[in-house]
């Protein structure tokens, strides 16, 4: 192995080790995730999905894929489900 190659391998090794161990050198321990945070992420995802469903239902109605009666019933049901999700989110706050 020539000197230049050895030097380059050393530099790469030091850089890789420095990159990987940096979080361990912070000197404090943090919890990965609280149960509450996971639940919040889940509810936020559910909220976004429900909003998307409400918007799609409205677009479907406007484009003639749903009758007015069906749309009203579906929209009412979806909004009630969205309210439940928001209530769950508020309980976490």
């Amino acid at each position: 192995m020539d000197a230049l190659a050895a030097l380059l391998v050393f530099v790469v090794l030091v850089a890789a080790v420095a990159l990987v161990v940096a979080p361990l050198r912070r000197g404090r321990t943090e919890r990965l995730i609280a149960a509450e945070e996971a639940r919040r992420e889940e509810l936020e995802a559910a909220k976004e999905a429900k909003y998307l469903e409400i918007r799609d239902a409205e677009m479907d109605f406007r484009m003639g894929k749903l009758s007015e009666a069906d749309f009203r019933a579906l929209d009412r049901q979806l909004r009630a489900e969205a309210v439940e999700i928001l209530r769950d989110l508020d309980r976490l706050t």
Binding site: L32, K65, L74
Partner: protein
């Protein structure tokens, strides 16, 4: 610099092992710093493999034949453009490309999710590093790209001439990007199951990567088809070859996944199905790499044969068994949140589309592995050909095209009789009109092709109707001009409209496939100059022969080119002048002074007149008997006379040519296949285009609220 390359590979393997341990420790103990350290091991892996790949690429560009892989896969006569891409023509180089792309994509996804899904990502990190460890292990212990020869030869073997085609330069990186990107949703599915969090968040966070995988794999498959059409000299674009099939299988299950995840996101349904699909897609992506690299099945991709079968089989078995065990152990969490409301709904159509796609994948899998299955059962290796595949795939493809027209116009949850009538009237009229218009011509004699054309018209009608109604709806809601309403419609739901564009592209592509495979005219003829042959109403006249030495117009580095000039006319009207040729590349010097140039590798450069309605395709093969005679004569000459002898042979061929064998093909609508592919790619880009990050907006909103609250307190 092979030492640097090899050292980086060893460090990469160590980084994988460390990262797996740190990530799993972080996940089990909940200690964030260990999970972060594991994530950074992926960044380190990307950096180390970038250095390794750079070293190898540099060796190829510099024609450094002290590297064994450079000596066997490149040469000083290989054109510069192809030298750079010759890296992935070797087994070692292609495995390194796989690992490098995996590390780059993994780094990207882990960076983009570094503040989200903190319970899932450590497991996903460990899984991604598991893939990395497998490929780095192969590169360190079984197929090192940095093996150094004791004495470097003066010249290398050169790049396989079949691979000297522009498509082949981009095709492998595209396929490998597809394969490696499919490991991302695979890893996150494993992470979600391991962390017992199976809501739609992991799907939302990795959906774009699944879509990118599908996009790249699709482009790779299409480029492969284009290469086959213009380079392999048989006149087709798809031969149901095992290696082609290997890339198609994960693409099919990936397509099914991209459709069915919408049902989970919207309705919380099909969780087991989605997880199973994405896990199967990940396993099929590794299986695809294995089929290219193992040589276990006879394939036109013989350059890929190797001895890496056993580790691949063990890894695939581990992935498959682990996936099944994980899904079974989490079945209680994967209960559906809703039921199917009606069989006449978009959910039901998605489900049917999934069954068709998985059915197609099963047919392809069965046909691909039939030689191994038959050998295991009967002791004899038997294979199935294109007619077997066509028998099952054609009806399934017809259903798929029809469903891609039904899906966009049918409502979620439940379609009523009234809205079904309203939504299907126009697309059905388009299909009926198309069928009636085609009845008087000979298309009617081919009912399956007629159905495909009618179904494609149905798709065009349904998407066109959606666009018009969508624009109208937006104009009613926001009083926008027609162009602005159309742009806003697409902008507000890029995923939907990108998907619809893809449906149109696929319909166009299938029309091209149906027309070109059903109404193709092929003729094989042996001709001498001034003879004429007729194909599908076209008169093809062999005008003259051509011969060139070291003057390859396509820049592939061919040493000698023997070709023909053909005049194509119809009803006395000139249509095209075609120049098919046969390229000859230097081979084994032991085959003699002239034999080494003619008995080595040879490729067809086809003559092609592509058009919107018809392609005219010609390949030429100079008379083999004549060539054997000139080789026998030329081999009596001393080696130093090789160049002059070849020049004399080329001149003799051009002036007094022997009969040449021609394959002449007139195929309708082949261009539609490439056009359809481009529309699909455009739709993919629309769907992939990043929308504003909801998570970032949420974080910003909550920080603003906090600032306002704290200012209020002060």
């Amino acid at each position: 610099m092979p030492v640097l390359g090899r050292a980086c590979l060893i460090l990469a393997l160590v980084a994988c092992a460390y990262g797996i341990g740190a990530s799993l420790y972080g996940a089990r103990t909940g200690r964030r710093e260990w999970a972060d350290s594991g994530r950074r091991a992926v960044y380190a892996l990307a950096g180390l493999l970038t250095v390794s790949f750079g070293v190898l690429e540099l060796a190829f560009l510099r024609s450094d034949f002290s590297f064994a892989t450079v000596a066997t896969h490149s040469s000083t006569t290989t054109p510069g453009f192809y030298k750079g891409a010759a890296v992935w023509s070797s087994q070692e180089g292609s495995l390194l490309l796989w690992a490098w792309l995996l590390a780059m994509w993994s780094s990207l996804v882990l960076f983009s999710t570094r503040r989200r899904m903190r319970d899932i990502t450590p497991y996903a990190t460990a899984m991604l590093l598991g893939f990395g460890a497998f490929f780095c292990g192969l590169l360190v212990f079984a197929a090192s790209p940095f093996h150094v020869l004791a004495s470097a030869p003066a010249e290398g073997n050169g790049l396989n001439p079949l691979l000297r085609h522009p498509s082949m330069m981009i095709h492998p990186p595209m396929l490998y990007s597809g394969y490696t990107l499919f490991t991302v949703p695979f890893a996150f599915a494993v992470g979600a199951l391991a962390a017992r969090r199976v809501d739609a968040e992991w799907i939302r966070s990795t959906r774009r990567f699944a879509l990118a995988a599908w996009f790249f794999l699709g482009i790779g498959i299409l480029l492969g088809a284009r290469w086959s059409y213009s380079e392999l000299g048989w006149g087709g674009y798809w031969a149901w070859d095992p290696v082609e099939n290997a890339s198609l299988m994960p693409w099919l299950t990936g397509t099914a996944f991209l459709h069915s995840v919408m049902i989970q996101e919207k309705r919380g349904m099909l969780k087991v199905w989605n997880v199973s699909l994405v896990l199967a897609t990940g396993v099929l992506a590794i299986l695809g790499t294995f089929l290219v690299r193992s040589g276990i099945l006879d394939s036109i991709h013989a350059f890929g044969a190797s001895t890496l079968g056993k580790p691949f089989v063990a890894f695939i078995a581990l992935l498959a068994a682990g996936s099944i065990a994980l899904v079974v152990s989490r079945r209680d969490l994967l209960r559906t949140e809703n039921r199917l409301d009606s069989l006449l709904s978009r959910e039901a159509m998605f489900l049917l589309n999934n069954l068709v796609l998985v059915g197609l994948c099963f047919v392809v899998f069965w046909g691909t592995f039939f030689p191994l299955i038959s050998e295991a059962v009967t002791g004899q290796k038997a294979s199935v050909g294109p007619p077997w595949f066509d028998r099952y795939t054609v009806p399934l493809a017809l259903m798929l095209v029809l469903l891609s027209g039904i899906g966009p116009v049918i409502a979620w949850r439940r379609a009523t009789a009234a809205n079904t009538r309203r939504n299907f009237l126009f697309p059905s009229a388009c299909a009926a009109l198309c069928a009636v218009a085609l009845l008087p011509v000979h298309v009617a004699q081919k009912p399956l092709a007629l159905c495909m054309f009618a179904f494609a018209a149905f798709v065009a009608g349904s998407i066109g109707q959606e666009l018009v109604r969508g624009v109208r709806a937006r104009r009613a809601m926001a009083s926008e001009s027609v162009p602005l309403a159309a742009v806003q419609l697409v902008r507000r739901n890029r995923r939907r409209w990108g998907g619809y564009t893809i449906h149109v592209g696929m319909a166009v592509l299938f029309v091209g496939v149906a027309a070109s495979s059903t109404f193709q005219h092929t003729r094989d003829a042996s001709l001498v100059p001034r003879q004429t042959v007729r194909v599908d109403g076209y008169d093809v006249r062999y005008v003259k022969a051509t011969g060139r030495v070291a003057d390859d117009p396509d820049g592939t580095g061919a040493f000698m080119t023997l070709g023909a000039v053909l005049d194509v006319s119809k009803g006395g009207r000139h249509v095209a002048t075609l120049r098919p040729a046969r390229n000859y590349y230097p081979g084994d010097p032991s085959q003699g002074t002239v034999g080494q140039y003619i008995m080595g590798d040879a490729t067809s450069e086809v003559g092609l007149k592509a058009g919107a309605t018809r392609d005219f395709w010609v390949a030429v093969q100079p008379d083999a008997g004549w060539l054997m005679k000139v080789v026998a004569k030329g081999n009596d000459l001393p080696p130093s006379a090789g160049g002059l002898a070849l020049a004399a042979i080329a001149q003799r061929y051009a002036e007094r040519p022997p009969p040449a064998d021609f394959r002449l093909i007139a195929s309708p609508l082949v261009t539609w296949i490439w056009l359809g592919g481009m529309i699909v790619a455009a739709g993919g880009l629309v769907a992939l285009w990043p929308a504003p990050d909801l998570a970032r907006r949420r974080v910003t909103a909550s920080l603003r609220a906090r600032v306002a609250q704290e200012l209020g307190r002060a």
